[in-house]
C-alpha cells in the first residue's frame, strides 16, 4: 500500500481518523460558540451570529463613553525607551545656552546650592517629562511653572539632552554615607512597594524615573509627602503615589536621608 491508498475514503483509518476529529471539532465548536455563550444569563446577544462573534473574540468597538472630566490636569507625556536617544552636538549646545536661566536655582554645573534638584547627568527622559508636565500644568510649582510655560517642544528636548550630557558631580555639603534602609533594598512586598532601586537606577531604571543619589534631602521628603497626599499627581498611572501612600513617615525620612547621602556615581549608566 502506498500513500495514494491512504488519503481515500476507502481506507477505514482515514475515514475514522478524519471523521472522529471533525466530529469532535464540530461538537466543541457548537458548544463553545453557541451553547455556552447563551448559557450565560448575564450576557445578552442579539442573535446567534452575535454570540459566535463574541465567542470568537472579534474585536468590537466599545460604545462611545466620554472619559470622566478630571478636576486637575494629568500628565499627557508619552515616554518610551527611545524618547530622546542619541542627541546631536548642536542640540546639546542649544540646551547649554537655554540652561543659563536655570542656573540660578539648579547651579551653573547642574548641581544645586539651594534645595532644588541636581540636574547634571540626570536621565534625559526625566527632565523632558517634568518640563512638559510643568508646561501643561500637570505639575505645578510657583518658581518652576513660569519658566516652563513658554518653552517650545524643541527647547524642552534640548535642555533635557544638555543636562543629561553633563557629568554627575558630587552634591554640595555631602553627609557621610548612610547604610541602606530596608525600604530601599527590599521595598515592602506586602504593601506593594518595590525596592526604590528597581526603578530609580541603582538596581535597574524604568523610563521616566530619576536617579536620586545626592539629591536634597528636604526636596525628596517634600516630594514623597506631596505624592502621598496627592498634592503632586503627574506620575503616570499613580506609580509613585501608590508607593508613597503606603510608606510610613519614618520610611520617607529614611529613604530621603539615605539617598541624599549617596554619591551620584553609583547610578547605573545610561546607554
Amino acid at each position: 500500500m502506498s500513500t495514494r491508498d491512504l488519503f481515500t475514503l476507502r481506507n477505514t483509518h482515514f475515514r475514522i481518523g478524519v471523521g472522529i476529529t471533525a466530529a469532535i471539532l464540530i461538537v466543541t465548536a457548537i458548544a463553545g460558540f453557541i451553547v455556552l455563550p447563551f448559557a450565560q444569563p448575564w450576557v445578552q446577544f442579539a442573535n446567534v451570529w452575535d454570540a459566535i462573534c463574541s465567542a470568537a473574540g472579534v474585536t468590537q468597538r466599545a460604545p462611545d463613553v466620554t472619559a470622566p472630566q478630571q478636576a486637575k490636569r494629568l500628565s499627557e507625556v508619552v515616554l518610551t525607551s527611545n524618547t530622546l536617544s542619541r542627541p546631536s552636538q548642536e542640540a546639546i549646545g542649544r540646551g547649554a545656552t537655554l540652561a543659563q536661566r536655570c542656573a540660578i536655582c539648579h547651579g551653573p554645573t547642574g548641581v544645586s546650592r539651594a534645595d532644588s534638584p541636581n540636574l547634571a547627568g540626570q536621565y534625559a527622559a526625566v527632565i523632558y517629562k517634568q518640563l512638559h508636565d510643568f508646561r501643561s500644568g500637570a505639575r505645578s510649582n510657583a518658581v518652576m511653572s513660569p519658566f516652563a510655560v513658554n518653552l517650545t517642544d524643541q527647547e524642552i528636548a534640548d535642555l533635557s539632552n544638555y543636562y543629561a550630557y553633563l557629568p554627575r558631580l558630587p552634591a554640595y555639603h555631602p553627609t557621610p554615607q548612610l547604610p541602606k534602609p530596608n525600604i530601599v533594598i527590599y521595598g515592602a512586598p506586602m504593601r506593594g512597594i518595590a525596592p526604590c532601586g528597581a526603578c530609580h537606577g541603582s538596581l535597574d531604571n524604568k523610563t521616566g524615573s530619576p536617579w536620586l543619589e545626592g539629591q536634597s534631602e528636604a526636596y525628596m521628603k517634600a516630594q514623597l509627602q506631596a505624592f502621598a497626599t496627592s498634592e503632586r499627581r503627574n506620575d503616570i498611572s499613580q506609580q509613585m503615589r501608590n508607593i508613597a501612600r503606603a510608606m510610613t513617615a519614618q520610611e520617607i525620612e529614611a529613604a530621603a536621608a539615605y539617598y541624599a547621602s549617596q554619591p551620584p556615581d553609583v547610578v547605573k549608566a545610561v546607554d
Binding site: M1, H13, I24, G32, A56, G57, A188, P189
Partner: protein, 540 residues
C-alpha cells in the same frame, strides 16, 4: 548497530553538561528566595539566573537528548548507518553556537526576559538569535530522521517500520511543527524590535504564537520518555510489549491532540475569544486518551514480564518484578510522578479551576514534577541503558545508579509537593523575593524551606548522575552486543499503511492548527492599534 557513537555521545554529553549547570542555578534560585537564604538585594541577578535555567532546561537540554537518542534509534532500530552524518554534526555545532550566543547576553544581564520571552520586554537581539540557531539545528535533525526512514523504506518496501523509529519520527514531526509558533513570534515580532527596526510590539499576538509552541513542546520533551516506556523498559526487565498497535496509536494521537491545544496557556488573556478557549480546553482533555492507553499498555507489558518470571495472583506478580533493575525503578518512579502531575494537570486545563492557580507557584511545582520528574528520570534511564553500547564499557556501579534514581524521586517529591501547596495558598511565581517576616506569609516559610531542601537533594542526585556516566567512560571494556529494542507479544508482520506512515496524522495536526489558531491569529494580526511600545531590558 551503533556506528556513529561519537555523534550520539557528543549530544548526550553536551545535554548533561548544560543540565548540570542549569540544575545548580535552579537549586540556587530555590535557596535564595527561601527564608534560609539572605536576600541578594538585586532581583535582576535572580532573573538572569532564571532566564538561563529556563532556556537551558526548556530548549537546549531536552532537544539535545531527543536528538542524540533519535540518532541512536535510527541506527539501532533500522539497523542502518546514519545517512547525513555531516549534516548531523552541522546541527550539533549550530546548537553549540546558538547556546553560546544566547548565554553571553544572559550572563551580562542584557536578556533577563525569561525563557517565555515576555514581550513587550525586549532583550539583546543575540539572545533570540541564539535560540533561533538552536531550533534550526534541531530542524536538521528532524529532516535527517525523515530522510533515514525514507532510505530504509526504499530498502524494505512495505515492511513495518520498527516501533522505536516510528515513534521517533512522529516526535520529530511534532517538534518541527510545534517550533513554528515561537519561530514566527521571534522572526516576525521580537527580533525586528530587538534589532531596533521597530519600536512597538503586539504582545497579545506574541502570546498566542508562543502558546502554539508552549504546549506541544511539552510532548516533544515527553517523546523520548514514552519511547523508553514502550521500547526499552519491557526488554530491560525481560518482558514484551503488550500491543504494538496500541503503541502506534498512542504516538499518532500525540501528534493530533498535543498540538492544537496551546491556548489553555492563555485562559487568563483577554485577547483570545472564550469560544476558542473552550475548544482548546476540550482538545486538551483528549490528551488523556493516549496517556491512559500508554499507562494501560505499559502496565500490561510489565505484568507480562512479571508472569514470565513466575509471578502469580491478582497483584502478587508485582513482587516478582526485578526491582533491583534500574530500569524498573525508573519506570515506577516515573509513573508515580506522572500520576500526581497528571492529576494536577486536570486542574490547569479546566477553564475555571485554572483561575485559582494561574501564575502561582503551583504551575512551577506542576511542571517540575512532570518534566523534571517523570520525564527527566527516564532520560537518566535512557542514558544508563545506552551508555555501555556507546562507550563499549560497563556501568559497574548498579547500586550507585539505584541510589541516584531514588534520590531524584525523593528530591522531586520533597521539592514539588510543598511547591504546589504554596501555590494553592496564592504565592505568585517568578518572584525574586518574599518577605517571610511578614505575618501574612510567615506560615508558608516552612513549605518553601522544604522545597529548597528538595532542590539540594536533586542537585546531589544530578551530580551523581554525571559522575556515574563519567566513570563509565573509564570502566573496563566489554562487548555490549547489539543494541536491541523490546519486541511485542505479537510482533507485527504487516501494519496498515495509516499506522506505518505519518502523513495522515501530520495532515490532521496541521489542519487542526489552522482551525484552532487560524482565526485568533488573523484577527489579532489584522487589527490595528494592538501594539505597545517595547520595554528594553537595561535601557533607560
Amino acid at each position: 548497530m551503533l556506528v556513529n557513537r561519537k555523534l550520539i555521545l557528543a549530544h548526550f554529553w553536551l545535554a548533561f553538561a548544560v543540565f548540570g549547570v542549569a540544575l545548580t542555578l535552579g537549586a540556587w534560585q530555590m535557596f535564595i528566595r527561601s527564608p534560609i537564604g539572605t536576600w541578594l538585594s538585586n532581583p535582576e541577578l535572580y532573573y538572569r539566573s532564571l532566564t538561563a535555567h529556563g532556556t537551558v532546561m526548556g530548549y537546549v537540554f531536552p532537544t539535545l537528548v531527543a536528538m542524540g537518542f533519535g540518532y541512536a534509534i535510527s541506527e539501532a532500530a533500522l539497523q542502518q548507518r546514519l545517512v547525513g552524518v555531516r549534516w548531523a554534526w552541522a546541527g550539533f555545532w549550530l546548537i553549540v553556537a546558538g547556546s553560546i550566543m544566547a548565554v553571553i547576553p544572559i550572563a551580562l544581564g542584557r536578556a533577563s526576559v525569561l525563557y517565555t520571552f515576555y514581550p513587550p520586554l525586549i532583550g539583546n537581539v543575540f539572545y533570540y538569535l541564539g535560540v533561533v540557531l538552536v531550533v534550526v539545528g534541531s530542524w536538521i535533525w528532524v529532516a535527517l530522521m525523515s530522510v533515514n526512514l525514507r532510505v530504509w523504506r526504499k530498502a524494505n518496501p512495505g515492511a513495518p517500520v520498527p516501533l522505536a523509529m516510528f515513534a521517533n519520527v512522529a516526535g520529530s514531526y511534532l517538534w518541527a511543527w510545534t517550533a513554528v509558533g515561537a519561530a514566527l513570534e521571534l522572526l516576525l515580532q521580537i527580533i525586528p524590535v530587538a534589532a531596533g527596526l521597530k519600536a512597538t510590539i503586539d504582545a497579545g499576538l506574541a502570546r498566542v504564537f508562543f502558546s502554539w509552541t508552549l504546549h506541544a513542546i511539552v510532548y516533544f520533551w515527553l517523546m523520548p520518555t514514552y519511547i523508553a516506556y514502550y521500547t526499552i523498559v519491557p526488554r530491560a526487565i525481560g518482558g514484551r510489549i503488550y500491543s504494538d498497535s496500541m503503541a502506534r496509536i498512542s504516538f499518532i494521537l500525540f501528534l493530533v491532540v498535543a498540538m492544537p491545544i496551546g491556548m489553555h496557556h492563555t485562559f487568563a488573556d483577554p485577547q483570545v475569544g472564550a469560544g476558542f478557549k473552550f475548544i482548546h480546553s476540550a482538545f486538551t482533555a483528549l490528551v488523556a486518551l493516549p496517556t491512559l492507553l500508554t499507562v494501560f499498555t505499559i502496565c500490561a507489558s510489565v505484568e507480562i514480564a512479571a508472569r514470565l518470571r513466575g509471578g502469580r495472583g491478582m497483584f502478587g506478580w508485582i513482587s516478582a518484578l526485578p526491582w533491583d533493575n534500574p530500569m524498573m525503578l525508573a519506570l515506577a518512579f516515573s509513573f508515580v510522578m506522572l500520576g500526581f502531575g497528571g492529576a494536577g494537570g486536570l486542574i490547569n486545563m479546566s477553564y475555571q479551576l485554572d483561575a485559582s492557580i494561574h501564575n502561582t507557584q503551583w504551575i512551577t511545582g506542576h511542571f517540575h514534577l512532570i518534566f523534571g520528574g517523570a520525564i527527566v528520570i527516564m532520560y537518566f534511564a535512557i542514558a544508563y541503558d545506552l551508555w555501555p553500547h556507546l562507550t563499549g564499557r560497563e556501568l559497574i556501579d548498579v547500586r550507585l545508579i539505584r541510589t541516584q534514581l531514588w534520590l531524584w524521586f525523593v528530591g522531586m517529591i520533597v521539592t514539588t509537593f510543598p511547591w504546589h501547596w504554596v501555590g494553592i495558598l496564592g504565592m505568585p511565581r517568578r518572584m525574586a523575593y518574599f518577605d517571610f517576616g511578614d505575618p501574612a506569609i510567615a506560615p508558608q516559610a516552612l513549605s518553601v524551606i522544604l522545597s529548597a531542601i528538595g532542590g539540594f537533594i536533586l542537585l546531589a542526585s544530578g551530580i551523581m548522575f554525571i559522575v556515574i556516566l563519567a566513570r563509565g567512560m573509564r570502566a573496563p571494556q566489554i562487548d555490549a552486543g547489539p543494541y536491541r529494542f523490546a519486541l511485542a507479544v505479537h510482533q507485527p508482520k504487516t501494519v496498515p499503511v495509516a499506522l506505518n506512515t505519518h502523513a495522515l496524522w501530520v495532515a490532521l495536526m496541521i489542519g487542526l492548527t489552522l482551525t484552532n489558531y487560524g482565526y485568533p491569529i488573523l484577527n489579532l494580526a489584522l487589527s490595528s492599534g494592538t501594539s505597545v511600545p517595547a520595554v528594553y531590558v537595561g535601557a533607560q
